[in-house]
């Protein structure tokens, strides 16, 4: 059984030096497609990626990562769309590079497809009504 998952790894400051990606490829035979990597204001490393491979390898890899202290989250929940704040202007639709935010026609309303979101965060400031939020902002 093959598996393909979009995930977010969050590395506590103590483990950021380790070559996790190299190990995922070498020890677990997984394919890695990195979407984005950064260090957030809390000095925590954050990596957004797509992992694919066989299901047993994938499960072993996730188990190993957790043992190393890596927090693993579903990429889908990283950016949230506050529909109450959205005025459906559509200004986001030309800024979003992955087509996650689109203006659906003929309804002329904005739709957000989480599965297409690559967490680039360009929408956060491009939305005049500030209807897009990150998990990080919401936690505060």
């Amino acid at each position: 059984m093959a598996i393909k998952q979009k995930l977010v790894f969050r590395f506590p400051p103590s483990v950021v030096e380790q070559p996790f990606i190299y190990r995922l490829v070498r020890d677990f035979d997984l394919m890695v497609n990195i979407l984005r990597a950064d260090i957030n204001p809390d000095k925590e490393g954050r990596l957004m990626l797509e992992l694919s491979g066989s299901e047993p390898d994938y499960r072993r890899a996730i188990e190993w990562l957790k043992q190393q202290g890596v927090r693993i989250l579903n990429l889908k929940q990283q950016i949230t769309w506050n529909e109450d704040r959205c005025t459906h202007c559509g200004a986001c639709s030309v800024i979003c590079p992955s087509g996650a935010l689109e203006l659906s026609r003929p309804a002329m309303t904005v739709t957000f497809d989480e599965s297409k979101c690559i967490v680039c965060e360009l929408c956060l400031k491009a939305c005049p009504a500030r209807a897009m939020k990150t998990l990080l902002e919401q936690a505060r």
């Binding site: 459906h88 202007c89 559509g90 200004a91 030309v94 400031k125 005049p128 009504a129």
Partner: protein, 405 residues
Amino acid sequence: MGIERTYEEINHKIRSGKAVILTAEEVLDLIAGEGAAGAAKKVDVVTTGTFGPMCSSGVFLNFGHPKPRIKMSEVYLNGVPAYAGIAAVDVYLGATALPPGDPRNRNHPGEFRYGGGHVIEELVAGEEIRLEAHSYGTDCYPLKKIETAFRLSEINEAVLYNPRNAYQNYNVAVNLGQKTIYTYMGILKPNLGNANYSSAGQLSPLLNDPLLKTIGMGTRIFLGGGVGYVTWHGTQHNPSVERGENGVPKTPAGTLAVAGDLKQMQRRWLRGLSMLGYGVTLQVGLGIPIPILNEEIMSYCAVRDEEIFAPVVDYSRVYPYREAGNLGLVSYAELRSGAVTIKNRQVPTASLSSYAGAREIARTLKEWISAGKFTLTRPAAPLPSVEAGIQLQALPQRNPDEGGF
């Protein structure tokens, strides 16, 4: 001789529940089937709507006096300065006002997280607003400083008074430059990366009455989710521009000044906005009913997005430096399709004005009228139209110390 109706006849039908009302979008199918003459016979009122960022907006507030009294000369609402150069406890809070400590564009593009538009939104939502006022003290108004909090229901008056709303048509903004620019028309990516527009097109109030034959001073309207009135022509009102055969202007033209009691408006239709790298503003919901007095009025409401054209303007150079020329005209049908052709290239489009919001406003106004809650007003005076010969001025730039007129 086609149908003729008076305001009185229309209002009589509204009160007796017999008026036929369609939105400016719904009426298009009827006109396609029966022509303007046929449609004019059947329809009494066409409703319009628009929901876009409108910077020339704000509220007049009267706080009532504290004890002892104060002549407020410097006023902040949630940290945002309001204009206090009028009577003792009257202020005007403008939509684009920023707190003195806001970093603006020092770290470009500035975020502009909070300002006048946001305060107005929170006011109308009934949230508590922090008020700080300073004064120099007089014999009749001794208090020199007050810090307090209030809600909209606790002050005497709050009147939304917008000097320029409901622009009749607008530019399509593009960027011919090499780097991203941040404008009141949104983020414009370099090398024609996107084209942003801001009009409800075929649903827009002034595009359905292009020569202002029914909309005038005193026209009752949907404003911010409540009832408001047209109070004057808007600032920069410019009816003398080039028009198509249908009377529709090909560039930004007419504007409206509008007012209404903030206390009966809704947060949903007054939204504080943050335009990256530009500033804050207010998104205003506005809708106007058009009385179908005759076939001619109906023929104006027949206008479709395919027949409304807007100029494409370069905001990297031409707009800011007042250079002449544009990149041609595009229709709102193309704009609303998601891409337009400019310089033989397909350019993705986005709107700053919410078409879905405009549609909902036109429908809401239709419901109000259908329910007999909202009747139409004959203007107390017309607004200046083409025959007024208005010419827009540029600001004189001369040495103020010379001259001696």
